[in-house]
């Protein structure tokens, strides 16, 4: 049971967002800018960073909701996403994206864990300042969203296939113009 009385039937972050629409609005606007606006990192790459950080934070709802989106954008299967979580070095991703995932993993531990060497490596592989900025902020933002979802002990469907089936719909509707109840 959730720690507070939330509107029923809404999984994960959707319950607290319906409970408190005033804070939901800027939270969704932030997700829209970070994960969907024009960017040299693709939507799929950004959703993958969000999925990876959510896995490190052990947030079931977020890692599956964003995993479903990453899978949709990258046109990959669940095994691919799961392998990224276990050992992204062994997965067929660009070296640049691997360097950004390493930075995201350090942010998850704490801001001071990001090392100049990690930044230099990412830059040497072609990462721009904006890409590094966005990786750090996406990772930091999911350290918030994950804690919001689990800190209130929200409910989440356990069947992972549900999230994958929802991926295309979530990709089409985005984060600012959608019905929490659908």
């Amino acid at each position: 049971m959730a720690h507070i009385k939330l509107p029923e039937g809404l999984p994960g972050i959707r319950g607290p967002m319906a409970f408190r629409p005033e804070t939901a609005k800027p939270l969704n606007e932030l997700a829209e800018v970070l994960l969907r606006s024009d960017n040299s990192l693709t939507r799929g790459e950004r959703e993958l960073i969000a999925t990876y950080v959510s896995a490190l934070n052990d947030c079931f709802f977020c890692q599956n909701a964003h995993g479903g989106l990453a899978q949709h954008y990258l046109q990959c299967d669940m095994n691919f996403i799961d392998q990224v979580k276990v050992d992204y070095e062994s997965v067929a991703l660009s070296d640049k994206l691997k360097a950004l995932l390493a930075i995201a993993a350090s942010v998850q531990k704490g801001g001071k864990h990001v090392m100049p060497q990690q930044i230099e490596k990412a830059k040497s592989l072609g990462a721009t300042d904006n890409e590094i900025h966005d990786t750090v902020l996406i990772a930091a933002a999911f350290c918030m969203y994950n804690r919001y979802v689990d800190g209130l002990n929200t409910w989440a469907p356990q069947d992972r296939q549900i999230y994958i089936e929802r991926g295309p719909r979530r990709a089409a509707e985005g984060y600012i113009d959608f019905d929490l109840y659908k």
Binding site: K25, V114, V136
Partner: protein
């Protein structure tokens, strides 16, 4: 002093340089801060700033801890020793039991969402905390787990003197967190 990990406009400390660099993210982040930290709420602005300060302290983020500590001092009309006592020995601090229970929940959120226990929430409710207050404490604590990582993850610069932050607190309290005051 080591330099920031990316090129940031000079002269703006902490998160302010980042917000100046990226108005696209500054917009939702500023709007979020206004709602969370300043809008009408059963938790006073001072209490909310204290929660932000406490979380920033646990996350070892000097800029956020000092900036929000300064604003807390302004709202609560207290000394830096008062805030220091809360950080170092919460159970003995001179604040209400309800606020202590909310700060304990915030401390658990810092460790991770699943660290918040039903017992902590029950204790806060017994001491009079409403669902809305518990929601807001969890979200403020979670939000500062973001802001702290954003500020330190890009290795931003921060003034070392605490007077810088206390001197600026009245202005922050007056102007709020809207974008124009972030530069």
């Amino acid at each position: 002093m080591s330099k920031p990990h990316i090129s940031i406009p000079e002269g703006l400390p902490g998160i302010r340089g980042l917000l100046s660099l990226r108005p696209d993210v500054a917009k939702p982040l500023s709007a979020f801060m206004e709602v969370l930290m300043r809008d009408e709420n059963v938790l006073s602005r001072g209490e909310r700033e204290l929660i932000a300060t406490y979380v920033s302290h646990l996350n070892n983020c000097f800029f956020c801890e000092q900036a929000h500590g300064g604003v807390t001092q302004y709202y609560l009309q207290c000394s830096s020793d008062f805030i220091q006592k809360i950080k170092s020995d919460l159970s003995e601090a001179d604040i209400s039991d309800k606020l202590k229970s909310l700060l304990r929940i915030a401390g658990s959120v810092v460790k991770g969402g699943k660290h918040v226990t039903s017992q902590q929430v029950e204790e806060a409710k017994l001491l009079g905390a409403t669902d809305l207050e518990i929601h807001d404490v969890v979200l403020i604590a979670a939000a500062f787990c973001m802001f702290n990582r954003y500020t330190d993850g890009l290795n931003t610069w921060a003034p070392a003197e605490t007077e810088f932050y206390t001197a600026r607190a009245a202005q922050v309290a007056r102007e709020g967190y809207s974008i124009k005051s972030s530069t």
